[in-house]
């Protein structure tokens, strides 16, 4: 390839880049498919000397769109001087609050501290003052999305040589977040005495630059499970003094991470009785406590509930349909912000499918009478979208049922069922039961606990004496591998019916 430099203007900003580079390397944006040209979420407006559109781009962009200059950043190369305009990104709805009980900082915690929930899709963080009071909060999208929406694709990217870049972008974002929090609270970042970063196992591997090879293939034998303090300098968190301790809470296994452990802590899942905590996201985690014994499993539900892989799908942002109701046989859709609908987010999708079932526009096998079926002006669901929902909802349902039945339990045996995470918070539980995302008995009594991972992180930050207990919980938890589990396979396949 010819590697002389060409000029690329990104939203007016001039860059000199090697000829033949992919546009996606120079714009911060999403690539849920990991740059394979299959999701179409990295579309930009591009002009100038560009590589011609190939079959994959033509499959996702209409001739009209291509003529207007729409391209996929992950497929388009700068053959000469060119210009790119990124499409306006709406502000995402990211949940920073949890519902767990209040608690007091340990008397010895006399410093500013930052707690971060480093999620695959989003980051949420809070700054606490010397009395343990919340001084500022912040949230943003995970910038690693250029390397895929799910953990496996990102692990794959890290193994393919992107490891340093993945660590660099997340560390840069953490620096910016910490700086921003301190500016909001009007304290110097150097006053921060400790940082606690929770996240799933893969996120902590990528943050610390740990070789993620064990996470990439069976038997998924992870050696490093954290529950350790590093120094800010080791993680290039230059906003902080280099000696500032950064505590990374313990992980349970390759796909049940420190975020689950933190959520369990905030939720009080281990306070006695038989309780389940479920975090429903791209990677779903289920934690069961029974007679002071702990069990967990994880399943890849896929990014459907984040709006990815659905033709009209989008995140929970302005313009997204987030509620659908069926009144006298007619569908009514509500959008975030109240304006015109431009797409549908996870909670809207679950509602929409439930309404289509109630209205008998969709049968129990998942067959759509009319393909596509309009939910409202501008938003429709196709047969393929319904199939994607069937796969995702059944994975979550089967994960819960399989973990319970492995212990000889039924849904009705539980004393408590908590649903953590943003999606769980906005989810209409009646709809979740209707489509079979959650077992009906559990959906009825489900308690949404919000961003429990961040709340648990706060607790571990402010009450360091709880860290030992957390390590014990993580170490004692038995992980049930669902891949290749025949009971899960049966539950999963038959659970695809509505």
């Amino acid at each position: 390839m010819n590697t002389d430099a060409v000029t690329l203007r990104v939203n007016g900003k001039q860059l000199h880049i090697p000829r033949g580079s992919l546009l996606s390397e120079f714009i911060s944006g999403e690539a849920p498919c990991g740059g394979r040209g299959s999701c179409g979420k990295c579309r930009v407006l591009a002009f100038g000397c560009l590589s011609p559109a190939d079959a994959r781009e033509k499959a996702l962009l209409s001739a009209e769109e291509l003529a207007k200059g729409y391209r996929l950043a992950c497929m388009t190369r700068a053959e000469g001087d060119c210009e790119v305009r990124t499409l306006a990104a709406a502000s995402p709805r990211i949940l920073t609050e949890g519902t767990g009980e209040g608690y007091k900082a340990s008397p010895e915690f006399l410093k500013y501290g930052v707690a971060v929930d480093l999620g695959t899709t989003t980051l949420a963080a809070k700054l606490f003052d010397r009395e343990g009071r919340e001084a500022a909060s912040a949230a943003c999208l995970n910038p690693q999305s250029f390397a895929g929406a799910d953990v496996i694709t990102r692990i794959g990217a890290a193994l393919a040589g992107e490891s340093a870049r993945l660590a660099e972008v997340i560390r840069r974002t953490l620096n910016e977040m910490i700086t921003g929090l301190c500016q909001k609270a009007k304290v110097p970042a150097t006053a921060v005495g400790e940082v606690l970063i929770t996240g799933n196992t893969a996120m902590l591997y990528l943050l610390t630059g740990t070789d993620p090879e064990p996470l990439s293939r069976a038997p998924f034998a992870v050696k490093r499970r954290f529950g350790e303090s590093l120094m800010a300098g080791e993680l290039n968190l230059f906003a902080l003094l280099p000696q500032t301790p950064v505590y990374l809470p313990p992980c349970i296994s390759a796909f049940v991470g420190a975020d689950t452990v933190c959520a369990v802590l905030a939720d009080g899942t281990v306070r006695g009785g038989t309780r389940v905590l479920a975090d429903i996201g791209t990677n779903g985690e289920i934690f069961l406590c029974r007679n002071n014994k702990f069990y967990a499993c994880s399943m890849a539900a896929g990014p459907v509930f984040e709006g990815v892989g659905i033709s009209c799908g989008m995140r929970g942002e302005t313009g997204a349909v987030d509620r659908v109701e069926l009144v006298n046989g007619k569908l009514f859709a509500r959008t975030i912000g109240g304006g015109k609908a431009v797409g549908i987010c996870g909670s809207g999708l679950v509602d929409a499918v439930a309404c289509l079932l109630d209205g008998e526009l969709l049968d129990e096998s998942g067959y759509l009478d009319e393909d596509p079926t309009y939910i409202c002006d501008g938003v429709a669901l196709k047969q393929a979208d319904i199939r994607a929902v069937q796969l995702a909802k059944s994975a979550v349902h089967a994960g819960i049922v399989t973990l319970l039945s492995a212990q000889g339990l039924k849904a009705s045996d539980l004393d408590g069922f908590s649903v953590a995470g943003g999606f769980g918070n906005y989810l209409n539980m009646r709809s979740a039961a209707r489509i079979g995302l959650l077992p009906a008995e559990l959906a009825r009594t489900a308690r949404p606990v919000g961003n429990a991972a961040l709340q648990g992180a706060e607790r571990l930050l402010l009450c360091p004496e709880m860290r030992d207990a957390c390590r014990k919980i993580a170490g004692a938890t038995e992980t049930l591998e669902l891949g290749g589990n025949p009971l899960f396979a049966e539950n999963y396949m038959m659970g695809m019916f509505f």
Binding site: G34, R36, S38, G148, I152, T153, I155, G156, L159, S216, R217, A218, S365, G366, Y367, Q383, A384, R387, Q390, L391, E481, G483, G484, A489, Y492, M493, M494, M496, F497
Partner: protein
């Protein structure tokens, strides 16, 4: 409705127990096992495969139909063997090393069996060499590899290399499939055939076995 028609329709509804009873009844009435297979069971699975490809039905219906098919073929198998009926071809299938996901692979296996192929299932976490040695020992015409993880799909390239090293590339075709697999990936590793779904995989395997 003739009994063959009845078998065909009952199978499409996924009523395994009923299919088994009907097949036995047909045998008792003197219908040849071969006729039950080619005029009732195989056409029923063809309809299921078509409907699945067109998104009219989904995984659970296919699974139920495939189970019904298996129940039916169990009944006629001894009779087919007696009359010396040959399988449409021989395939070995497995999920590649490092990957434990077998739901898609099992569905493909059942669809292939529904097409009258003999399928050797190597299970999950199968090393490249095992695919090749199985194909050699059993005279398989097709090796079929499945992967669900983007991080394990590269093992498929190892299978192709192992088949080359064993000198069987001229007589054994390699098929690949699974969520992250694409036509381009198939070409890039030098495999012979990519199938996007279980029904397509079964059709393709039959075509490959015919040569």
């Amino acid at each position: 409705m003739s009994i063959l028609q009845e078998i065909c329709e009952t199978l499409q509804k996924g009523r395994a127990k009923q299919v088994k009873e009907l097949v036995q009844k047909a045998l008792d009435e003197g219908v040849a096992a071969q006729e039950i297979l080619t005029d009732a069971l195989l056409p029923a699975m063809n309809v299921i495969g078509e409907k699945f490809k067109n998104n009219e039905i989904f995984v659970p219906e296919v699974l139920m139909a495939a189970r019904a098919m298996n129940m039916g073929t169990e009944v006629i198998k001894p009779h087919l063997a007696e009359s010396g009926v040959q399988a449409a071809g021989k395939v070995c299938i497995g999920t590649v090393q490092g990957d434990l996901h077998d739901i898609g692979k099992n569905l493909v296996r059942m669809m292939m069996e529904g097409k009258g192929l003999e399928v050797i299932d190597l299970g999950t976490d199968v090393p490249a060499e095992k695919f090749v040695s199985c194909a050699v020992e059993n005279d398989c015409q097709v090796i079929c590899c499945s992967a669900l993880l983007t991080t394990t799909m590269d093992v498929m390239a190892e299978v192709v290399r192992a088949a080359e090293a064993a000198g069987i590339r001229d007589r054994v075709k390699i098929m690949v499939g699974g969520a992250p697999i694409t036509e381009e990936f198939c070409r890039s590793i030098g495999a012979d055939c990519y199938a996007a779904d279980a029904a397509g995989a079964a059709d393709a395997a039959v075509a490959l076995c015919k040569g």
